[in-house]
C-alpha cells in the first residue's frame, strides 16, 4: 500500500511531545488508587501459595518428608516437581532452572515444594514445616574458584582486535590490575506476585508483576501442558522491575497456575520480602582483571581483559549479560589492540539475572579502573587521561567488536560538563582543602558513559501495538511493553496523541496483555519506548491513512495533504473535527482498529567472529561527583553531583530526568552501600532491607544538577529520541572514582587505591590503609 501519511516529526506548539507531562498514573499513585497485582479484588475462593526452600547450597535431596506440611492448619494442597503436569524446566533460554528442585540442590533458597492454604500466613507457616535431608557438598561461591575448576554455565566468548600481546610488549609502560565488583539486589518495592485464575476447561488467566508477559504465558502453558492460546497474561503495572522481573517473575506465576489448575480455584503467590531476596537472581558479581600497555602520555596501546561473571547455578540470561560486559569494557575509550574473554562462571548461588545495565556496568568498571591506574602512573589528572583516550573521529574509532563509533558525543559533552561543573576550579579548591585537613579528605571525578542500545539477541528487537479508535474520538493503545514506573505508557500516550493531534487525555494506554499483542519481547535493554513507540506510531499511521483517504473522498482532495492537528483534520481549506471524521468513517464502514509493528534496522552481530554492529546507536552521558571521606572510619558523603546526559530529542524531559536521577542513585547504591553477602554455607545473609541498604533520602546529594544534552538522535528512532532506562545507572561510576580520588590524595596522588565495589566504609578504610603505610595515627 502506498504510504499516504508521514509520521508527525515536528514538535508543534500544542504537541505533547517534548513536554514534561506527569506520569500517566501519577494522580492515582499519590491517592492510593493505582492498582498493583496484590490490590486486585480477589475472586471468590482465592487461596494462597507459599514455597518451601532449601537450606543447603549444594547437594542432593535424600529425603523430603512433607507430612507436617500437609497437616499444618489451613493447608489445601502441596506439590513437588513430580506434580507438575508439563515441562518442569522454566529456564528462559538454556535449560537449567527447574520449577521445583528435582533431587539436585544447586543453591541455598532453591524451591523444593509449594504449599496451598486458606491464607497467606498459614501457607507460609506450613512451608517451614518440611523435614528435609540433604546430602551436602561444599558450595562453590566465588567465580574465580569456578574458573579454576572450569565450572561454566555457557562456553566463553572472545572479542579480539589486532595483536594485543605485541602491542602491550611494545608499549612504554605495562600495567596490571584486578577488580572485584559486587552484585546488586533489585529491591523493587513491590515484591514478586502472581494471581492465577482458572477459566473454562483448562484455560488460565494470569495477573503478574512481570516485565515479560509473553514468556510467562509460554511457561505457564508449558508447565500446564496446554497450548499458548489457552493462557492470557495481564500486566497493568509493576511496583518496580529494574530487570528483576524479566525472567524471575515466571516461576511464581507457573506455581500459582499449577495450584489453580489442580484445585480449580484462584491462587495468589506473593513472596515475603526475605524469601524474595533469597530466591530471585541479582545483578552478577564480577571478578575482572586486565593487562594494559600505554605510551608515555597514558594513551592505551593494547590490553588483555579477563572477565569472570558470577552467573549463579544456571545460565538464565548470563550469556547475553557477560557479552554485554565485554561490549562495554571500553566504555568510551579506544582500547587499541585488545583481547577480551568473558567467562560464564557457575557458582552455587541463585541464578543471577538481568539488572539495569545488564552486565554493561560491570564491564565499564574495568575501563574506568584502567583509566585511574593510568592516571596515577603518568601523574596526570584522571580527567585528562579520560579525554585523551576517548574514541576519535577518523582514527581510533572502532570498538573491540568492530563497530564504528559514529556521531560520538562524548568529547563535546565532557567539555561542556567540565565547564558547567567548574571541574578545574574545584580541583584546586579540593587540593587546598586536602592540604589543610588531615582526617577528612575530598575527592572529585568526572566519568563518561557510552551505552549501546538494542537487545544483543537480534530477534528481540521487534515490537507490536494495537490501536482502537472509538466513535467519540477517544482511543485505546495497547503495546508489548510493560510499565514499571519508567514512564513508558506516558510516552506512548504522548506519541499517539501527537500523531492524531488530540489531547493526551483521549488516549488510554491499557494493561499489557498477551491476547492483544502477541509474542512480545521483554521490556528490557532500555528499548521500551524505542521499539514500542515506533510500533504504536505505525498503528497510528495505518488508521490515519484510512481517515485521510476517507476525508479526501469527502472533500475531493489529495489524501497526501491531510494534516491531523488541534483536534481537527485539515485538508487545504477544508477542516473537520477529529471526532466528526471518526464518526463519518465509522458510518462509512472504515475500520478504526489497527495493529502496528516495528523491527530495529541496521543491527547484526556474528558471535563466531565477535564482530558486527550489535547496537542501533549509543546513548552518552557524563557526571562529576564530589565526595568527602573520613579516613578514621571510611565513612563518606557525596556532596555534589553534576550530570549532562544524552537522551536525543527528549519525548518528556521530566520523565527522562527522573530516569537519570533515579538511575544515578541506584548505581550509586550498587557502588557504595549495597553489599550482598553470602555465608560460607551459601546462604544470603543480607536478605532483608535491615541488612541490605539501598540509598535512603539522606544519600541524595544536596547539590544535584542534571541537564539534558540538546541534540537529536542521528538515527531514525522515535522522534529522534534516545533510550534512557539503563545508561544513567553507570553515571554513578563517578562516585566510586571520586572516593578513590580522595583516598589517592593521601599518597599525593601517586597511588591508585585498591577499592573493591561496593565501596562500603569498611572497604574504603581497607583501601585507605593500603595507601598509607604509616599506621593509623594522624597528626592534627
Amino acid at each position: 500500500m502506498r504510504k499516504l501519511i508521514t509520521p508527525s516529526q515536528k514538535n508543534e506548539k500544542d504537541s505533547p511531545i517534548g513536554k514534561s507531562r506527569p506520569h500517566e498514573s501519577a494522580a492515582r499513585q499519590v491517592a492510593g488508587q493505582a492498582r498493583y497485582v496484590d490490590d486486585i479484588p480477589e475472586p471468590p475462593n482465592t487461596h494462597y501459595a507459599a514455597i518451601g526452600i532449601s537450606q543447603s547450597a549444594n547437594g542432593a535431596i535424600k529425603h523430603l518428608d512433607l507430612t507436617d506440611v500437609f497437616a499444618s492448619d489451613g493447608v489445601i494442597d502441596v506439590i513437588t516437581v513430580k506434580d507438575v503436569p508439563g515441562h518442569t524446566d522454566i529456564a528462559p533460554v538454556f535449560d537449567g532452572d527447574p520449577i521445583l528442585a528435582d533431587n539436585e540442590i544447586k543453591f541455598y533458597g532453591q524451591a523444593l515444594f509449594a504449599v496451598l492454604a486458606t491464607s497467606d500466613r498459614l501457607a507460609r507457616q506450613a512451608a517451614t514445616k518440611a523435614k528435609v535431608e540433604i546430602t551436602e557438598h561444599d558450595p562453590v561461591l566465588h567465580p574465580t574458584e569456578s574458573h579454576q575448576k572450569q565450572m561454566f554455565v555457557r562456553p566463553a566468548h572472545h572479542m579480539k582486535h589486532g595483536d594485543a600481546v605485541s602491542a602491550i610488549n611494545n608499549a612504554e609502560h605495562k600495567l596490571e590490575g584486578h577488580i572485584e565488583i559486587g552484585g546488586q539486589e533489585h529491591l523493587y518495592l513491590e515484591g514478586q506476585v502472581s494471581l492465577a485464575v482458572p477459566e473454562e476447561e483448562d484455560r488460565m488467566m494470569i495477573f503478574t508483576s512481570s516485565q515479560h508477559p509473553s514468556e510467562v504465558q509460554k511457561l505457564v502453558a508449558e508447565v500446564l501442558d496446554i497450548k499458548l492460546h489457552r493462557v492470557v497474561v495481564d500486566m497493568r503495572r509493576m511496583g518496580g522491575g529494574f530487570g528483576g522481573k524479566e525472567t524471575q517473575a515466571a516461576q511464581w506465576a507457573c506455581l500459582a497456575a499449577i495450584f489453580a489448575s489442580r484445585n480449580d480455584c484462584p491462587v495468589k503467590l506473593r513472596l515475603a520480602r526475605s524469601i524474595d531476596m533469597q530466591v530471585t537472581g541479582k545483578r552478577h558479581p564480577f571478578s575482572n582483571s586486565y593487562t594494559l600497555g600505554i605510551d608515555g602520555t597514558g594513551l592505551i596501546q593494547g590490553c588483555i581483559i579477563n572477565i569472570d561473571g558470577d552467573c549463579g547455578h544456571s545460565a538464565d540470561l548470563s550469556d547475553a549479560i557477560v557479552d554485554r560486559a565485554m561490549f562495554h569494557a571500553d566504555n568510551g575509550y579506544y582500547l587499541a589492540d585488545c583481547d577480551i574473554v568473558g567467562h560464564r562462571c557457575q557458582t552455587n548461588k541463585v541464578s543471577h539475572t538481568a539488572f539495569r545495565g545488564f552486565g554493561g556496568p560491570q564491564g565499564m568498571m574495568i575501563a574506568e579502573a584502567m583509566i585511574e591506574k593510568i592516571a596515577r602512573k603518568v601523574g596526570e589528572d584522571p580527567l585528562t587521561i579520560r579525554k585523551r583516550n576517548l574514541y576519535r573521529e577518523h582514527e581510533r574509532n572502532q570498538t573491540q567488536y568492530g563497530m564504528l563509533v559514529e556521531n560520538n558525543l562524548l568529547p563535546d559533552l565532557i567539555n561542556k560538563l567540565e565547564e558547567t561543573s567548574s571541574y578545574w576550579q574545584r580541583r584546586k579548591e579540593i587540593n587546598t582543602f586536602n592540604t589543610e585537613n588531615s582526617i577528612i579528605k575530598k575527592g572529585l571525578a568526572l566519568t563518561p558513559v557510552k551505552f549501546g542500545i538494542s537487545f544483543t539477541a537480534k530477534f528481540l528487537n521487534q515490537a507490536g501495538a494495537l490501536l482502537h479508535v472509538y466513535t467519540d474520538g477517544s482511543m485505546q493503545i495497547n503495546h508489548g511493553g510493560t510499565e514499571m514506573g519508567q514512564g513508558l505508557h506516558t510516552k506512548i500516550a504522548q506519541i499517539v496523541a501527537n500523531e492524531f493531534g488530540i489531547p493526551i487525555d483521549d488516549v488510554e494506554v491499557t494493561s499489557t496483555r498477551t491476547d492483544k499483542v502477541p509474542n512480545t519481547s521483554p521490556t528490557a535493554a532500555s528499548s521500551g519506548t524505542d521499539i514500542n513507540g515506533k510500533a504504536a506510531q505505525n498503528a497510528c499511521i495505518a488508521i490515519k491513512e484510512r481517515l485521510a483517504n476517507h476525508f479526501s473522498q469527502m472533500v475531493d482532495g489529495d489524501p497526501n495533504l491531510v494534516v491531523f492537528k488541534n483536534k481537527h483534520v485539515v485538508l487545504g481549506e477544508h477542516q473537520i473535527s477529529f471526532v466528526e471524521l471518526v464518526q463519518q468513517a465509522y458510518l462509512s464502514r472504515v475500520s478504526l482498529s489497527s495493529t502496528g509493528f516495528y523491527k530495529t534496522p541496521k543491527i547484526h552481530y556474528n558471535r563466531e567472529t565477535g564482530k558486527g554492529r550489535p547496537f542501533f546507536y549509543f546513548a552518552y552521558g557524563a557526571s562529576v561527583s564530589e565526595v568527602t571521606i573520613d579516613t578514621l572510619t571510611g565513612e563518606y558523603k557525596v556532596d555534589r553531583v553534576d550530570i549532562l546526559h544524552d537522551v536525543g530529542k527528549s519525548l518528556n524531559p521530566a520523565i527522562d530526568i527522573g530516569q537519570i536521577e533515579g538511575g544515578f542513585i541506584q548505581g550509586m547504591g550498587w557502588l557504595t552501600t549495597e553489599d550482598l553477602l553470602w555465608d560460607s554455607k551459601g546462604m544470603l545473609i543480607s536478605n532483608n532491607p535491615a541488612t541490605y541498604k539501598i540509598p535512603a533520602i539522606g544519600d541524595t546529594p544536596r547539590i544535584f544538577n542534571v541537564d539534558l544534552y540538546p541534540r537529536a538522535n542521528d538515527e531514525d528512532s522515535i522522534y529522534h529520541s534516545k533510550a534512557v532506562g539503563e545508561p544513567p545507572l553507570m553515571l554513578a561510576m563517578s562516585v566510586w572514582c571520586a572516593i578513590k580520588d580522595a583516598i589517592s590524595s593521601l599518597s599525593g596522588y601517586q597511588v591508585d587505591p585498591d577499592l573493591a565495589a561496593p565501596a562500603t566504609p569498611e572497604n574504603v578504610l581497607n583501601a585507605i590503609e593500603g595507601v598509607i603505610s604509616d599506621g593509623r595515627i594522624h597528626e592534627s
Binding site: A26, Q29, I439, T633, I665, A690, T691, H778
Partner: protein, 479 residues
C-alpha cells in the same frame, strides 16, 4: 472491644487475634489497598499511615507516622487512623499529593502512598521545613526509582506554608469523637491495656505467657518474620507510671514506655550531643513508636541507646508491682539478649545523670548507610576534665560483643592523665586494642570493628582534647 476512627468512620472491632497487624487489617479486612506491603519489617515505609491523636493540651491533634506492618491493630484504640485514600477532598488532591504529581515524585508508585503519608504528617507539624527536617521526616521511606530529589522538592513545596486542610477544619469533631472512643478501655480477648502499676502486675500474674509490648517495632517482627502466633499481649503504653518524663534535680528520669519522639526534646535539652545518634536511630516512624524501655529490654547487642546509658552511668528502675529496685546500666545486660530482669518484672524508668559542666559527651555510630541502619559499631564516651587532667572517663560500646559493653580497662588507665597529651590517647589505644572480641557478620568484619573501637576513641580525643580544637573529624551530614 477496640474502637477507633478509620479516617472519618467510627470502627468497633469485637473479635480479632491480638497479633493482627494494622497493615493486614487495612488491606484485607477493609480493602484499603492504597497502603502497601514492601517488607513487613518496618524498613521500607511503603505501609506508612498516620495516627492522629489529641495533643497534650487537649486542644488539637497530633499527626504521627507509623509503620502499619509492625503495629498491632489492637494498639490504635482511641485514635484516628488516616490512610492515603482519605487525603483528597471531594474535588481535589491534598496539597502534598498534588505536589508529588507536579514535581514528578512518583515513578513506579509503590512507595508513593507511604511518602505521601510522611509528607502529610510533616504538613501538620508546624515545623520549619528545612532540607534537614524533610530528610528526617522522610527517613523511613525508601524509593527505588526516583533518587528522591523530586520527592524532597514536593515536600518542600507543599509543606513550607501549609494552609488549613479538611483535617484541620474537622479537628473539633474529630477530637470529640476520639474523646468518646477513649471512654472505653480498648481491651479484647488476648489483649490487655493496664493503666496502672497494680493493673499491670495483675495482668502479668494472671497471664504468665503474655508478652509485654509497647511500640511493637521489635516484637512484631516475631509475627511478620518468624511467623510466630502471639496469643496474648499486654500493652504498656497506657500505664501511668511508665509514661512520664521528669527533670529531677540530678538526673533525667525517662518513663520506659515513652517513645523516642516523645522524649526527644527533653533528652536533647540535657544531652545535645546525642542529636546525631537520635536522628540516626532507625527512622521517624519507628521513633514515633519505639520506646527507650523496649530498646533496653530486648538487650540487642547493637541497640544504639544502651551504649549511651553505659557511658552516662545510667540507672534502670525495675518494678514487679510490689517492689522496685535500681540496677546500674552496666550490670543490666548479662548475655546475648539476656538481662537482669526477672520474669515478672518490667522497666519503669531509666535515669540519666546530668552532665557536669566539666564533662563532654560524644556518641558515634558507624554504619553502611547514614540513615535507618543498624550500627556496625556504636561508641559513646564521656569525659570529665579538670585543668586538662582526666577526672572521670566512661564509655559504652555496641556491636563489639554479645552485649553492650563498657571498656573498664580504658577507664582505669586514663584517669589522672593529661588529656592534651597524645600519649594519653595512645595509652587508650593500647587499653582498647584487644579488649573486645567482636564477630564477623553482615554489617562488618571483626577486624573492622576492632579498628572502629580504636579509631572512634581517637576521634573522641581529637574532638575534645584542647590541643586539637579545630580539627574537622567527621564527614557525615549531621556533623
Amino acid at each position: 472491644m477496640i474502637r477507633f476512627l478509620l479516617n472519618e468512620q467510627i470502627i468497633s472491632v469485637e473479635e480479632h487475634k491480638p497479633d493482627t497487624t494494622l497493615l493486614e487489617y487495612i488491606r484485607q479486612s477493609k480493602s484499603l489497598c492504597g497502603t502497601k506491603e514492601g517488607c513487613a519489617s518496618g524498613d521500607c515505609g511503603a505501609c506508612t499511615v498516620v495516627l492522629a491523636d489529641i495533643n497534650d493540651n487537649a486542644n488539637g491533634l497530633t499527626y504521627k507516622t507509623i509503620n502499619s506492618c509492625i503495629t498491632y491493630l489492637s494498639s490504635i484504640h482511641g485514635k484516628q487512623l488516616i490512610t492515603v485514600e482519605h487525603l483528597p477532598s471531594e474535588t481535589e488532591l491534598h496539597p502534598v499529593q498534588q505536589a508529588m504529581v507536579d514535581c514528578h515524585g512518583s515513578q513506579c508508585g509503590f512507595c508513593t502512598p507511604g511518602f505521601i503519608m510522611s509528607m502529610f504528617s510533616l504538613y501538620h507539624q508546624n515545623a520549619e521545613v528545612s532540607h534537614q527536617n524533610i530528610e528526617i521526616a522522610l527517613s523511613g521511606n525508601l524509593c527505588r526509582c526516583t533518587g528522591y530529589r523530586p520527592i524532597i522538592e514536593a515536600a518542600s513545596l507543599s509543606c513550607t506554608s501549609p494552609t488549613p486542610d479538611k483535617f484541620d477544619k474537622n479537628s473539633e469533631q474529630t477530637i470529640s469523637k476520639l474523646n468518646l472512643l477513649k471512654e472505653e478501655k480498648g481491651e479484647s480477648n488476648g489483649y490487655l491495656q493496664p493503666t496502672s502499676r497494680d493493673e499491670l502486675r495483675l495482668a502479668i500474674s494472671s497471664n504468665p505467657l503474655a508478652r509485654l509490648v509497647c511500640g511493637s517495632t521489635d516484637l512484631a517482627l516475631e509475627t511478620t518474620q518468624l511467623l510466630n502466633d502471639l496469643a496474648c499481649l499486654i500493652n504498656l503504653k497506657n500505664v501511668t507510671e511508665l509514661n512520664h518524663i521528669e527533670e529531677a534535680e540530678n538526673e533525667l528520669r525517662i518513663g520506659s514506655a515513652l517513645s523516642f519522639a516523645e522524649i526527644e526534646s527533653k533528652l536533647l535539652k540535657h544531652f545535645p550531643d546525642l542529636k546525631e545518634l537520635l536522628w540516626r536511630f532507625a527512622s521517624a516512624p519507628i521513633r514515633n513508636q519505639a520506646s527507650l524501655g523496649g530498646n533496653i529490654a530486648n538487650a540487642s547487642p547493637i541497640g544504639d541507646m544502651p551504649p549511651v546509658l553505659l557511658a552516662l552511668n545510667a540507672n534502670i528502675l525495675l518494678d514487679n508491682g510490689k517492689a522496685r529496685r535500681v540496677i546500674p546500666a552496666k550490670d543490666f545486660f548479662i548475655d546475648y539478649k539476656t538481662t537482669q530482669m526477672q520474669k515478672d518484672e518490667w522497666i519503669e524508668s531509666i535515669h540519666l545523670p546530668y552532665l557536669s559542666k566539666q564533662s563532654q559527651l560524644r556518641a558515634y555510630k558507624v554504619s553502611k548507610r547514614l540513615e535507618d541502619d543498624i550500627s556496625a559499631v556504636c561508641a559513646v564516651f564521656k569525659i570529665e576534665l579538670e585543668n586538662n587532667c582526666v577526672v572521670k572517663l566512661s564509655s559504652g560500646f555496641g556491636g563489639i560483643a554479645a552485649t553492650p559493653r563498657q571498656a573498664d580497662s580504658l577507664e582505669q588507665v586514663i584517669i589522672g592523665l593529661d588529656w592534651t597529651s597524645r600519649t594519653t590517647m595512645e595509652k587508650g589505644i593500647a587499653a582498647l586494642s584487644h579488649y573486645f572480641s567482636p564477630i564477623d557478620d553482615v554489617r562488618a568484619s571483626a577486624e573492622y570493628r576492632h579498628k572502629m573501637v580504636i579509631n572512634l576513641w581517637q576521634r573522641f580525643w581529637l574532638e575534645t582534647s584542647a590541643a586539637n580544637p579545630a580539627t574537622t573529624t567527621r564527614a557525615n551530614a549531621y556533623a
